[in-house]
């Protein structure tokens, strides 16, 4: 069977717009949360978010580095973040100038949960206030979810599969899992896979707040708002950014002497078939997703050292935790599980990809990132190392990422240190 390894990484996050900066800040226990700066949020219930910082910030994002000025003007920010993260990953993998023969078998699977909501909002206002003749001719293709994959394929000449997953907050994990299968099934040798999101806009914040999903009770203490597993958790903090990995067939990577971070060994998917926003109360879907990922990997819970939880800082945290406990049984004592959403917020369609990258880095550096703000662990957290407050040095042979989305869609990805 064709094996799939990771040979490049790219990140745009609220704590850094490159992999090493973001990871260092995550391990240092920093928070990317703050008052919303992109618009006046004073009329909203929620005033806070984890925004990607501007270029002049210590760990800000410079859109001009990899995205043409003209494209920046035409497309929504989620596409700009996605193009940049994909570019970083290709540079990291040494594949920016791949020969045409190789590029015929290089593809993209970069999705988003919602897509260009800020642009849909602003152009709707143009339509209402100035009429249809003032709507941008770039409106449609500047908002479409598959336009990260589209733009990236055009910029870098990637002629393999061009795909985009849309499964709400499971998008990033599904993107990586689906792309790994495309390589396994011989549709491609190399896939750029991941997700991006940027919905910190009035209708995005209002919509999630009205759905009672956002934290609205820590407006004066943004850095403490995202607190997975804590008794005082009260909804997620919206993040934004992108994560993209280069997936590559193992022999292909070996033949060109590529640096190999890890192997993608397991992928599980399931549906809750229960409710549009709430998870199944027994975590039935989450359990089966993780179980399938382990089975596909030929592993048991004892082989997993780190779980990067979905852990959004909502009531659902303890449901996920209960299903992890049930799956791991006695092995729960040996695993560390944390939610990096405590630091960078919830990147929605980008989350699964960004968090899979953190799993890969945990394996590379043999350290697991912390769960911030876990001051008073909720009932049901006993007996689980949730890595409160501080990163922890430990053995990490393999890691599992969970991502669950509205609609009851679940995905789990298992990555493992490479063994010959």
């Amino acid at each position: 069977m064709r094996r799939v390894v990771v040979t490049g990484l790219g990140l745009v996050t609220p704590l850094g717009a490159d992999v090493e900066t973001a990871w260092a800040n995550i391990l240092a226990g920093k928070s990317g949360a703050g008052k919303i700066t992109k618009f006046d949020a004073s009329a909203q219930k929620c005033h806070i978010a984890c925004e990607v910082k501007p270029a002049d910030h210590e760990y800000g994002f410079d859109a001009g580095k990899r995205v043409d000025h003209k494209i920046q003007r035409q497309v929504d920010p989620f596409i700009v973040f996605g193009i940049d993260a994909a570019g970083q990953a290709l540079e990291d993998a040494g594949l920016v100038d791949a020969p045409e023969e190789m590029r015929l078998r290089m593809g993209c699977s970069i999705g988003s949960g919602i897509g260009g909501l800020p642009g849909i909002e602003s152009e709707s206002l143009v339509l209402a206030n100035k009429g249809p003749g003032r709507v941008s001719p770039h409106f449609v293709h500047g908002r479409l979810i598959n336009l990260i994959s589209g733009q990236v394929s055009i910029k870098y000449g990637l002629m393999g599969p061009n795909h985009a997953v849309v499964t709400a907050c499971s998008t990033g994990a599904h993107s990586i899992g689906d792309a790994a299968r495309m390589i396994r099934d011989d549709d491609a040798d190399i896939m750029l896979a991941g997700g991006a999101e940027s919905t910190v806009c009035p209708i995005g914040i209002a919509g999630f707040a009205q759905a009672k999903a956002l934290n609205c009770s820590f407006n004066d203490r943004p850095e403490q708002a995202s607190r997975p597993y804590d008794k005082d958790r009260d909804g997620f903090v919206m993040g934004e950014g992108a994560g993209v990995v280069v997936l590559e067939e193992y022999e292909h990577a070996k033949a060109r002497g590529a640096k190999i971070y890890a192997e993608v060994v397991g992928y599980g998917l399931s549906g809750d078939a229960y409710h549009v926003t709430a998870p199944h109360p027994e975590g039935f879907g989450a359990f089966r997703s993780m179980e399938m990922a382990l089975k596909k990997a030929g592993m048991t819970p004892a082989d997993i050292d780190y779980v990067n939880a979905h852990g959004t800082s909502t009531m659902a945290d303890t449901i996920e935790l209960a299903s992890v406990k049930r799956l791991f049984g006695d092995d729960i004592a040996n695993v560390s599980m944390s939610s990096t959403k405590s630091a960078i917020g919830h990147l929605l369609g980008g989350a699964g990809a960004v968090e899979t990258i953190f799993c890969i880095l945990a394996i590379r550096d043999q350290i697991v990132p912390p769960t911030l703000n876990l001051d008073n662990p909720d009932e049901g957290t006993e007996g689980v190392d949730l890595v409160p407050h501080v990163a922890k040095k430990r053995r990490v042979r393999a890691a599992l990422n969970n991502s669950f989305g509205f609609g009851g869609t679940n995905a789990s990805v298992v990555v493992k240190a490479l063994e010959d």
């Binding site: 000025h69 003209k70 003007r73 003749g133 003032r134 941008s136 001719p137 770039h138």
Partner: protein, 78 residues
């Protein structure tokens, strides 16, 4: 440089992301400044907005260079 000329050039620089010194009078939007047909639609909208003129589709199709745009606006601005 007339005010209209300066404003047109500013809009072109901003929308197409090109260097200011490339936006000369006889520069073609498509051949010299890297625009595609949708960029031209956007430029025409920006001119309409900026100068308060209406540029009908058949007139817009004839605007190929920076000078064409300036000439149309100068002739039609109220």
């Amino acid at each position: 440089m007339s005010t209209i000329e300066a404003q047109v050039k500013k809009i072109v620089v901003e929308h197409l992301g090109v260097e200011e010194d490339k936006v000369v009078a006889d520069a073609s939007f498509i051949d010299d400044l890297g625009a595609d047909s949708l960029d031209i639609v956007e430029l025409v909208m920006a001119f309409e907005e900026e100068f308060g003129v209406e540029i009908p589709d058949d007139a817009a199709e004839k605007i190929a260079t920076v000078n064409d745009a300036i000439a149309f606006i100068e002739a039609n601005k109220g």
